[in-house]
């Protein structure tokens, strides 16, 4: 968790860290959109539950390592005030072959969306509102159950 922005190029370079066994890096960036549910968004505020957040992200990464043959995982999530175009979240996974890093990266995002204690409040022309959980996120996370 961090308030400040992140540099995806530098983060990926640090994750690979001169490991010549890495053949694949899958990554994902989530960004603030200027529209949601048909309303224009000016400002967004991201709240989290300090302590539990770190534990949940650690659990999600551990679960990914248990499921796939991957080298390293990185999860960065911003909190506080954000605006359209801002980066919110970054997930990157390294592996020898591409299938594993793709699957693990998408798995981490799906679980982060449904398990990690973050909440978005957005400012719309009709006033502030808390974003509702998406049913599609639950469905995305449910696919990973054996």
């Amino acid at each position: 968790m961090q308030v400040q922005d992140f540099d995806v190029g530098a983060e990926i370079a640090a994750l690979r860290l001169g490991n010549p066994a890495v053949g694949a890096v899958a990554s994902f960036i989530g960004c603030v959109r200027d529209m949601n549910e048909g309303d224009s968004i000016g400002l967004m505020y991201l709240e989290h539950y300090p302590g539990m957040t770190e534990r949940e992200l650690e659990k999600i990464a551990t679960e990914a390592h248990g499921r796939w043959d991957i080298f390293d995982t990185l999860i960065i999530h911003r909190v506080g005030e954000l605006r359209p175009l801002d980066q919110i979240v970054f997930v990157a996974v390294t592996s020898a072959h591409r299938g594993e890093s793709f699957a693990a990266c998408e798995f981490i995002m799906d679980f982060l969306k449904t398990k990690a204690p973050f909440w978005k409040r957005e400012a719309t022309p009709q006033g502030d509102r808390w974003v509702d959980a998406r049913v599609s996120d639950d469905a995305a996370a449910a696919r990973w159950k054996q």
């Binding site: 989530g30 539950y49 302590g51 539990m52 973050f118 978005k120 808390w130």
Partner: protein, 85 residues
Amino acid sequence: MTIQLIFLARLRERFRVSREAFALAPGAATVSTLLDQLRERGGAFAEELAPNRAFRVAVNQDVVTFDHPLKAGDEVAIFPPVTGG
């Protein structure tokens, strides 16, 4: 028996409190009995914690089911479904 209550996001705003020490009624306590006590406050508590509403409870930072037992000193957080990422 006292526990630490934490309310987050929309529930924090609705209840106008983010953290409080809470005295559980004597006897075997679970998340369910805690929720019953909170609903007795009426108002936003009765409304938001009604059985048909979607909210989650974490005890010591792990999400639990409502039959989870509580002990003195537990950190009990109540929050809406998460919406990060």
